[in-house]
């Protein structure tokens, strides 16, 4: 009987995680519309519910009720499976994120490595969407996104290695515990800058939102999707936003420290994550976007050498400090 209970307990944890994911996506969409609206000298949603809090829910319900249109000559399998696959990495990573000392769905030894490995799968779904849509605009958008995400995965991962060297482990809980003296944003400021910039590029956020450049190729790979398939791309983008900001909080801002109590720890962790999300939205409503070749230059010629230099310097300093202590 024991295996049956263990299975049920694991299933319950995963259901809570999935529910949390979807609610977070709704909250983030509402937050984006309000924050961006206020920065643009106007109010966001106001009518449904007090201050418009139910707006996103009603939008999701409306999108669910739309007609199921599949254009004529699409490539059936990539077109239909792309909106599904774009959600898979997000949900998987959620199972690994620790919110407090004991609150984590599954805790494996090398969770940081696993997170980065799975994050790359979302690129494939964009390419599938671009190809399967049988549309030149979508193809252009899909190829641009493939180039962009490939270029920016490498600085993203390399900037996290500095943190791993300093913490001595790839386990996310261990990394947070190792920040008890000082948050890693202070010694690893360069890595933080590289991480956040590459994260914006991974998420297709302005100033890097070439794949969905609305004024040029009219929504890029999204162009032939309508109804709930469009909603799933949209939601996946916001879930990824939350995940990356949560990762940044864990790696650089100390996770749930200094509270070890699970309730206070989770709340403080969420508070730090939402500050980072707010900064992202602030950047989104201010800057224009780069051209494709310009931010390839930016990624390969600036961020990649910066992150390599960071690893080198961190490793040297850690080695020297260890030897001095050993003496």
């Amino acid at each position: 009987m024991v295996w049956w209970l263990v299975f049920l307990w694991a299933l319950l944890k995963l259901v809570i995680a999935v529910g949390f994911v979807l609610v977070t996506a709704l909250i983030l969409i509402y937050m984006l519309r309000k924050v961006m609206g206020r920065m643009q000298y106007r109010m966001g949603p106001r009518h449904h519910g007090p201050h418009g809090v139910f707006q996103t829910m009603f939008d999701a319900v409306k999108l669910l009720g739309k007609e199921n249109i599949i254009p004529k000559d699409v490539d059936k399998w990539p077109y239909l499976w792309a909106p599904v696959i774009v959600f898979v990495p997000s949900l998987t990573i959620f199972a690994l994120l620790p919110f407090a000392e004991k609150i984590v769905a599954t805790n494996i030894e090398i969770s940081l490595f696993f997170v980065f490995a799975i994050m790359g799968i979302s690129t494939i779904s964009l390419i599938m969407a671009g190809w399967g849509s049988n549309n030149k605009y979508a193809l252009l958008g899909g190829l641009r996104s493939a180039a962009q995400m490939m270029s920016y995965e490498i600085p993203l991962i390399l900037s996290a290695i500095g943190v791993v060297i300093m913490a001595g482990s790839m386990n996310l809980v261990e990394i947070v515990r190792a920040q008890q003296n000082i948050y890693y944003i202070v010694p690893q400021a360069v890595a933080f800058f590289v991480f956040m910039t590459s994260a914006l590029a991974e998420l297709n956020h302005t100033p890097f939102d070439i794949p969905e450049a609305e004024s040029e190729i009219v929504a890029g790979f999204n162009i032939e999707y309508s109804g709930f398939r469009f909603a799933s791309f949209f939601l996946a983008e916001f879930v990824n936003l939350f995940i990356i900001c949560a990762l940044a909080t864990i790696l650089f801002l100390g996770g749930w420290l200094p509270f070890t109590n699970p309730v206070y720890g989770t709340l403080f962790f969420l508070f730090k994550t939402y500050i980072l999300i707010f900064v992202t939205m602030w950047i989104r409503s201010t800057f224009p976007r780069f051209r494709l070749d310009q931010f390839m230059n930016f990624g390969w010629k600036l961020l990649l050498p910066l992150s390599l230099v960071n690893i080198f310097v961190t490793g040297t300093v850690v080695l020297v400090v260890d030897n001095i202590r050993g003496l």
């Binding site: 450049a213 409503s285 224009p288």
Partner: protein, 376 residues
């Protein structure tokens, strides 16, 4: 080492260019404009523009209407700066019929025309932000434009098309309270302009999107009949308001900005500087408006003497010209309207050779075309 034969066969290979259609429904082509771009990867090899979606046959309609009946149609040519079209038309008729416009009407004409110029340049500012990718400046500039449009509504009675400047003067006098509202606007607007400039002028991303893009040399600009801010961005400091002054512009003191490099960034800077110069003109004109009538008595059905005239004005986008052939009757025999966006758009294929697709949209935005005046 390639032999001659091999080189010849390489040249004969069919090149596979992709044809991308930026259709009439597009968020970034200003109005209904379609162009088919032949693209090699991300670089444009050639374009084929298609216009005529907004063609209303205005020149043919002019031959059946009297001069005063035709005047509201002139508003709808360049609908972002409608008062300047009317100004050109009415002044062409006044020159041919030798009608003197009273000084009060001239001052009011200048104030309303320069306010309209500011409105049109604010649309340009919002649109180039949209094309570069930032959504916020669009909303900021439309909020400012709202205040200028309220001023114009108080004065002229309309927001987009006015029918206010008439042959021999203007139609209505300045209402009470207009001067105080105008002073409020003139004190707030320069600070808002500074905020707008801070958003874009020093921004690294905007500069790397617009500097060095779409360079037009001065000889090419003359050849392709460009005028207005597009020509001034390429280095020719020329303005019809200074070269052939009309409607009292010789009394006011203003500078003409010009750009050195001829790229998109310079055209943007020229238009931002022009807004400040327009504010200067409005201040000087509103200081003391001479008293008198606002309109000269003109016969109800105006008959022009026989002859032809080409008259031109500085519109918001460039040179607006009317070539009127009159045979002495009530209706014009031929009315040809020369608009700046028509010539600018014809040069698009020349400017876009070898540009990226992303740049093509920004360059089209910097020409600041409005399809009502291309298609007439």
């Amino acid at each position: 080492m390639l032999t001659e034969e091999f080189e010849k066969t390489v040249e004969d290979l069919p090149k596979d260019y992709m044809e991308v259609n930026f259709g009439p429904h597009h968020p970034s082509t200003h109005g209904v404009f379609r162009f088919i771009a032949r693209v090699d990867g991300e670089r444009i090899v050639g374009i084929d523009p298609v216009i005529g979606y907004l063609h209303r046959g205005v020149e043919k309609m002019a031959e059946r209407k009297t001069y005063i009946q035709f005047k509201p149609l002139v508003d709808r040519l360049d609908y972002t700066g409608a008062l300047l079209n009317e100004l050109c038309y009415c002044q062409a008729l006044e020159k041919m019929a030798e009608i003197e416009v009273p000084e009060r009407a001239q001052a009011i004409r200048v104030i309303s025309a320069e306010l309209n110029r500011i409105c049109a340049h604010l649309i340009f500012y919002g649109a180039i932000g949209l094309e570069a990718g930032a959504f916020t400046p669009f909303l900021f500039s439309f909020a400012e434009r709202e205040k200028a449009l309220q001023l114009l509504e108080m004065l002229a009675g309309g927001r987009l098309t006015f029918n206010y400047i008439t042959i021999g003067g203007v139609r209505k006098d300045i209402p009470n309270g207009f001067k105080s509202e105008l002073e409020k606007f003139l004190s707030i607007f320069p600070k808002r302009l500074k905020v707008f400039e801070d958003l874009f002028t020093g921004n690294e991303i905007f500069k790397s999107r617009t500097q060095g893009i779409g360079v037009i040399k001065m000889e090419d600009a003359f050849d392709w009949a460009m005028s207005g801010p597009t020509l001034r961005g390429s280095g020719a400091r020329f303005d019809i308001r200074k070269a052939e002054p009309y409607s009292g512009y010789e009394k006011y003191d203003f500078d003409i900005p010009a750009g050195e490099n001829g790229d998109v960034y310079d055209r943007y800077l020229v238009r931002m500087a022009e807004m400040r110069q327009s504010l200067r003109i409005i201040e000087q004109a509103a200081e003391d408006i001479p008293s008198g009538d606002i309109q000269v008595k003109v016969p109800k059905v105006l008959k022009l003497p026989e002859g032809e005239i080409y008259y031109r004005n500085e519109g918001t986008k460039g040179e607006i010209g009317f070539y009127i052939i009159s045979d002495g009757g009530k209706t014009p025999y031929r009315m040809k309207i020369r608009t700046p966006s028509f010539s600018h758009l014809s040069a698009l294929g020349f400017v876009l050779k070898g540009a990226y697709i992303a740049d093509a949209i920004v360059i089209l935005g910097s020409f600041d075309t409005v399809m009502g005046s291309v298609d007439r």
